[in-house]
């Protein structure tokens, strides 16, 4: 509990660890698996719930930065324990252009696998993961639940990965 409020849950997946695969509803009738995105960089943004003001701002921000994420070769995915219909309404209201996955049944199973489930209120932490094309976590960060972590950490991680791959090529 105290660790979580300091922004560092004990089991938060760390760089170098394998990102657990999952299959979750992206819409009421479509599923998305992490393994389908193998070969691409994936940003996973866990957030506590649709509609709460801070989440709205955070997802709205990522929505605006989406072209830069794409330029850096990354796909953005939002996840919360809300159901697919709730996500659909939220995404439509905020005009979001990236998928929101419903970690709804069994509730929070993916959040648990990534070490960011919040037992005390049945939601997930506000946690970010950058996963490389081989399915390894390259960067992770957990923000206090009430604080929008912004995008600078993600952008920094993506740029470091791109610089790294350039070095490896040359």
């Amino acid at each position: 509990m105290t660790e979580a409020t300091h922004g560092k849950p004990r089991n938060l997946l760390q760089p170098g660890e394998r990102a657990p695969d999952f299959t979750l509803p992206a819409t009421p009738d479509q599923y998305l698996s992490l393994s389908e995105l193998r070969g691409k960089t994936v940003i996973l943004a866990f957030y506590p719930s649709d509609w709460s003001p801070v989440c709205g701002d955070q997802m709205a921000l990522y929505n605006e930065i989406l072209p830069e994420f794409h330029k850096l070769g990354a796909e953005m995915i939002g996840l919360s324990v809300d159901g697919a219909w709730c996500h659909a309404a939220f995404a439509e209201a905020r005009r979001l252009h990236f998928p929101l996955l419903a970690d709804f049944e069994p509730k929070g199973a993916v959040a648990r696998a990534y070490g960011v489930y919040r037992q005390e209120d049945g939601t997930s932490e506000r946690a970010l993961f950058v996963i490389d094309g081989e399915g390894l976590v390259r960067w992770s960060y957990c923000s206090p639940v009430g604080v929008n972590p912004g995008a600078d950490g993600i952008l920094g991680a993506l740029e470091a990965m791109n610089a790294d791959s350039l070095v490896r090529i040359s």
């Binding site: 701002d57 955070q58 709205a60 921000l61 929505n63 605006e64 930065i65 830069e68 905020r94 005009r95 979001l96 252009h97 960067w139 960060y141 929008n148 972590p149 912004g150 995008a151 600078d152 950490g153 952008l155 920094g156 991680a157």
Partner: protein, 190 residues
Amino acid sequence: MNMTQLSALRPPVSFVDHTMGSADAPITLVEYGDFQCPYCYRAHPVVTRLQKKFGSRLRFVFRNFPLSELHPHAAHAAEAAESVGAHAGEAAYWKMHHAIFEHQQDSDDALDDEHLVRYAADAGADSAQVRSDLASGIHRARVRSDFLSGARSGVNGTPTFFINGARFEGDWTSPSEFASALDDAAKVAV
């Protein structure tokens, strides 16, 4: 990637920015704002009062951070202001800046292109030029560059303020808290 890096202004204020006040001022206040954001509307008179209070000790800088998907007129409002600045100068830019915020809540269409062009003409710009700039999107890259600098500097919503390059983590709706943060920055700067 530690926390201290997360809240520093990148890039620092330079000649490309819209600034009000002297470059020698001990306090530089940067706002990342969205012309259609209701919180920025509320922040606008707060900033004006701080400018009055601190006078020549304060330099104010505005950078664009439009959340266009939430605020459909925000991008064009920013581009119209840039157009005014580019063609009619900094004084006209600031007139336009004030006009946009002052009119933001007039009506639902207060920031549509027709209104923006009218505010631009009142600020001293050529309305045909502004109209043509909005159509061509020539200032879009500048606005985007402001936006991305904000994203890199840890801006996570609007308005976000930086005082002498460090993100202001306090409550901008509290005049005393905001003013004392500026005072503290001035003491460090001297």
